[in-house]
């Protein structure tokens, strides 16, 4: 009778954070491996140019690890990370605007320089990106956290410093405006 291999316990985010705080670099690397793709999707959805996603992901993790003392488990680590990503993206857009005068909405819409890839991605996806670029930052982030990342309103509210009711209202406003844009 074959013996079942003992399954190594997967460390929780909290355990990895504690290990990183104790100086374990590999714990930080493991957190990056675990959350980088979700963060990349969120950033790209929020309007980050595809060419910049890698840099923005790195910058978000750097900020998160340096400020991890401020994370008190009010929401999941990934949710907290996504909100930091939103701030990193906002700063990047501001820097880009300072370097060249481009309206914010245009900046967010300029998501990919390759027309072929854009065609492949589909017209609807491109139009959704356009619509997201026209929403307020709060509406955009609530929509992405809910629709793209599948988070509950309580979790979204805790991460964005608002109430679950307000998060719900932002989501419905976002959906309404996006439907109008896509109609």
């Amino acid at each position: 009778m074959p013996h079942a291999e003992p399954v190594a316990a997967v460390p929780t985010d909290a355990a990895l954070i504690a290990a990183w705080q104790g100086g374990d670099e590999q714990a930080a690397a493991q957190l990056v491996r675990r959350h980088a793709r979700a963060l990349a999707r969120f950033l790209a959805g929020a309007g980050a140019p595809d060419a910049d996603v890698d840099d923005l992901v790195q910058e978000t993790f750097i900020r998160a690890f340096r400020g991890v003392d401020r994370f008190r488990g009010q929401c999941r680590f990934r949710t907290w990370l996504l909100t930091i990503g939103g701030n990193v993206l906002k700063d990047a857009v501001r820097r880009a605007r300072r370097a060249k005068v481009v309206p914010l909405a245009d900046e967010l819409r300029a998501t990919d320089g390759d027309p072929h890839e854009r065609a492949v991605a589909g017209e609807a996806e491109g139009r959704l990106r356009e619509g997201l670029g026209r929403l307020s930052r709060m509406q955009r982030e609530v929509f992405l956290l809910r629709a793209q990342q599948g988070l509950e309103y309580d979790e979204i509210a805790a991460a964005l410093g608002t109430s679950p009711g307000a998060a719900r209202v932002h989501y419905h406003h976002a959906v309404k405006r996006l439907k109008e844009h896509l109609a």
Binding site: Q30, G45, A124
Partner: protein, 139 residues
């Protein structure tokens, strides 16, 4: 487009960017950057912001200008205070000391020059001037 379709579309958003991301390379890059760049405190980071530097420079300029203005103002205010200082010295004398002073002054030359405290020190005053001054100080 209804809401579930919109959510489905949103879930596809950024999928290509996520697929293209080299997670292992990103993890190593993050660890390397964390190791190389020293951890900067929140206060230091705030001070590194250009806006804060501008505010700090403005505050320093304002404080410097205010210190210079106050210095000039004090000098101007203290300059004509010689006569007042002499009168203030009399205030510190006791009644007995003042009476003795009067007696001494009575023996000196009696000269009725008009009182001009602005350019007179206690030593320069004549007897009537000192008497007048004492009376005014005694009320």
């Amino acid at each position: 487009m209804n809401e579930p379709e919109l959510e489905q579309l949103a879930q596809r958003l950024g999928a290509r960017a996520a697929e293209r991301l080299d997670v292992e390379r990103t993890a190593q890059a993050v660890v390397t950057r964390l190791r190389e760049a020293p951890r900067v405190s929140v206060v230091t980071r705030l001070w590194m912001q250009p806006a804060w530097l501008k505010v700090a420079a403005t505050v320093v300029l304002l404080l410097g200008a205010s210190a210079v203005t106050r210095g000039v103002w004090y000098r101007e205010r203290l300059a004509p205070a010689g006569g007042e200082a002499a009168a203030a010295g009399l205030n510190e004398l006791s009644t007995d000391q003042l009476q003795r002073l009067l007696e001494i002054v009575d023996q000196a030359t009696d000269e009725a020059a008009p009182l001009s405290p602005a350019d007179a020190s206690l030593d320069d005053l004549t007897a009537p001037q000192l008497r007048e001054l004492l009376r005014s100080l005694e009320g």
